[in-house]
Each structure stands twice: as structure tokens, then as C-alpha cells.
Symmetry: C2
Subunit: 199 residues, 2 copies
């Protein structure tokens, strides 16, 4: 049992560790989670984690980098938007919601730490990706304003922020046992859409 059964086995353990860490980080915070708690969840001793990750920070990075890669993939679809601005905006919001709801832990960690730990140099890729996403939204909003589909009396950046505030909030109190994505999205559009659209 001493030699490594090639990569896959190792990767499975890594994934276990990442899953446990993600859950704990989201629930109690990164600082508040100890490597011993992570090890407990996986069923090993804390020292063993260091066979897979050099530091606790590296676990955080692995989680966040994977999440950001997934985010970029999802939003890339929207770069070649042919449809009208309203549908594009609606699909953008659906993408945001889906990304957050399919990775609730990573999203919670990201939101919680964006203004703190993730503002440091070593996490620069996170605010970077967030800014990228903002630009995609802004392009759609500006296009919609030009076409007359989206009201022009609200500054695009303000509109984007308000939309994201609602989406982030929804992701925060969303409970998969009680709600479902379609229902939240549609009710959400009742509230926001009529405010955002031209009369």
C-alpha cells in the first residue's frame, strides 16, 4: 500500500479535502476553520493534509482558482451576444444565479472575503475576474440603452451594482430545500425587470 496508484487516487483525496474545506470555510469562515477540523471531516490526522497541500492558504487558492475558472467559462458564452439586450441581460442574471447556486460554498467564501483577505496582492486574480464580469454586464446594459430597450436615466454602473446586490443577496438566503432557481429568477424579474426596463 506504500506506492502511489497513479494520479487519480491522489486527485480523489485532494477533492475530498477541498470539499470538506469548502464546506467549513463557507460555514464558519477561513480564519475560524482549523486544519484539524478539515482533517476530522476527511477522516485523517491534520499532518496528513500537508502531503497534499503545502499550506492552508494553498487550499484556499485551489478552491478559489477552480471557481474563478468556472465563472470565466460560464460568462464567456455571453461575449458573442446576438440577441436583444433584454434577453441578454436576463440570461446574464440567470448565469450569475446558477453559478452562485451550483457552487454555494465557493460563492459564500468569495463574497465574504472579497473586501478583506482577497483584497491582498496574492489574490489579485479574484477582483480581476469580478471586474471582467462587470464589463460584460456593462456592455449589455449600454447596448440596451442605445437600442432603447433599457432605461437611460440610470447610470449603467449603478444599475449593474443594484442587479448584483439583488443576485448576491438571493444567493445568500436561497435555500435549496425551499426554493428553486426558476421560481427565484422569475419572482426576481417581477421586482427588478419592471424597474429596469423602459416603460
Amino acid at each position: 500500500m506504500a506506492e502511489a496508484t497513479d494520479a487519480p487516487q491522489r486527485d480523489r483525496r485532494r477533492a475530498e479535502i477541498l470539499a470538506a474545506a469548502g464546506r467549513l470555510f463557507a460555514e464558519r469562515g477561513i480564519r475560524e476553520t482549523t486544519v484539524r477540523q478539515i482533517a476530522d471531516q476527511v477522516g485523517v490526522m491534520s499532518g496528513s493534509l500537508y502531503y497534499y497541500f503545502a499550506t492552508k492558504q494553498e487550499i484556499v487558492h485551489a478552491l478559489m482558482r477552480a471557481y474563478v475558472e468556472d465563472l470565466v467559462d460560464r460568462y464567456c458564452i455571453h461575449l458573442s451576444g446576438e440577441a436583444d439586450a433584454r434577453s441578454q441581460l436576463q440570461r446574464l442574471v440567470k448565469t450569475s444565479l446558477e453559478a452562485m447556486l451550483e457552487h454555494p460554498h465557493e460563492n459564500a467564501i468569495l463574497q465574504h472575503e472579497l473586501g478583506r483577505m482577497f483584497r491582498t496582492e496574492e489574490f489579485a486574480y479574484l477582483p480581476g475576474a469580478v471586474a471582467q464580469i462587470e464589463e460584460i454586464y456593462l456592455a449589455v446594459i449600454r447596448e440596451g440603452v442605445k437600442e432603447g430597450d433599457i432605461r437611460s436615466d440610470i447610470e449603467p454602473r449603478f444599475m449593474f451594482r443594484t442587479i448584483m446586490d439583488v443576485v448576491k443577496g438571493a444567493a445568500y438566503w436561497y435555500d435549496p430545500d425551499v426554493h428553486d432557481v426558476e421560481q427565484v429568477t422569475s419572482t426576481w424579474w417581477k421586482v427588478l425587470g419592471r424597474g429596469v426596463y423602459s416603460p
Copy 2:
């Protein structure tokens, strides 16, 4: 200089400590702020803080209890609402925004920790106050629905959450050097009001 000039002097120091701690807690987080950093900001050695507060936690409590008292005071005005539901709701939101913007640090700390540290027994008064505020909002929304002022096809709790998400978000990115309350409130109503009101 050895003897205490009665209470006021002592209170002033306490206030200095609370101000420094509030700023640091909001900026870097509670766990991430050390008592030495607080002491540095005040211009004393860390040991001296313990003449005013028994523990670091007690500083957090002092900050939060004062904030909650202020919140309750502000919202009490709305308990004897005579006006129509729309104006009442609008005034409620203004109250929320003002409270958050006048105590940006306390608000940032509260928002940041509500799902974590403040979920514990000893901070029970915080979620308690938040629930109280929710009830005040809900009463106004339900009254408005009954009067036909506010649309009835959105669950009141959902509407409340969406409103608070927007307000909290605004408080987060609000920059006193760039924005002012009136401007934010009015632009905010352009977005939200038309979605919330009946046609």
C-alpha cells in the same frame, strides 16, 4: 496625572478605543485585528486596553450594543405610521440607509459577522433586532398590499429581502466622497419603486 478626573475622562478614552476598534474591525475583520493594532491606533500599549475592557470580545459587544440601540431608536418612529404604505415604505428605506451610512463601520461589522460569529448565543440580541426590523417592514408591506398600494403578486418576505439586499449593497459600495444620500435614495427608487408598486 495619577488620579482619575471623574467619569468623563475615562469615557473619552473608552470612546477613542471603540472608534479605533470599529474602524479596524470593519476594515480588516474582527479576527484579523489584534489588540496591539487597536492600541497602536489609540497611542497606548496593548496592556492598557484591559483597564477599560476585560476582553477583546467586550469591545465588540460595546460597539454592537450601542449600534443596535441606535437602530431600535430609529425604527421606533415607524411604529405609529399614519401615512399611506408607499410613503411609509419609502421612509423606512431612508431610515435603513441613513443608519447604515451614519455608522458605516458598525454596519460593515454587523453585515460581515451576522452569519458567523454573531450567530452564537452570546450575540443573540443582534439577529433579534434584525428580526424586529423585518417585522416592521412586513407590517408596512402587508398594509400596502391590503390598500392596493403595493403589488400583491410578490410574497412580502421576498419583497423585504430584496429591498434589504439592495440597501445593504448600496451601503457597501457607497462612497461619501462621490455619492450623497439623497442621490442614492432617489436613483434607488427609480429602480426599485416601479417594480414594487402596483401598475
